[in-house]
Subunit: 121 residues, 2 copies
């Protein structure tokens, strides 16, 4: 019954912070070093490094260290996974509304207000 | 630069817990009372009430108390908002890959391995 997925836990946890969302947002424009990621923020470099670590542990980004520079890039799979989790749920209750609508149209005289009340309940 | 949205913080925070995801999942099948939501879980009713409160504070669900029963239902807008945040980012870096692909195809002899290396960097 539990929707057990430690990776989903970590993905959504990582997305719950505005700085981490901004970092991910920046990376959709292309790979960047940790210093480049830190530049627009008032935070310390250490704070950004921590955010990068949380994002990497969730799988939302991957990093690679070459020489003294750690380069970060978005990891498409993890973002797609979170998006899919949400879109599947949305599809499920939209299907439910469609069935409800069909039921109301077929079984009772057309009455949009009643259908709307039913949907809101 | 910060992606400031306290509601997005709360939505993603609410989704980072497996019990809360399972509750939301159950509600996509239709409204339910808090006791109905609690039934499949080993947790105490008090724990489920807390999870319901977190979900409600995030806007992912709405609740209504009639008599002694609190009925919960999914709130489509908040789920759609989180989904949109993710799909917009995905669209952005897919567009970037398309531009990179076009650049590589137009500017250099076709070499799929090089294109792939570039994409992975």
């Amino acid at each position: 019954m539990l929707d057990q997925s430690p990776q989903l836990d970590r993905i959504f946890q990582a997305l719950s912070d505005p700085t981490r969302r901004a970092v991910l947002d920046r990376l959709t424009q292309g790979p960047a070093s940790v210093s480049e990621l830190a530049a627009p923020f008032d935070s310390t470099l250490a704070a950004i490094v921590q955010h990068v670590q949380v994002l990497e542990a969730s799988g939302l980004i991957a990093t690679e260290k070459i020489g003294r520079t750690r380069t970060c890039r978005v990891s498409a799979d993890a973002v797609a996974r979170a998006e899919r989790w949400l879109s599947e749920r949305r599809a499920r209750w939209e299907a439910r509304f469609d069935r409800l609508g069909a039921l109301l149209e077929g079984g009772a005289p057309p009455n949009k207000k009643a259908a709307k009340r039913k949907r809101m309940s």
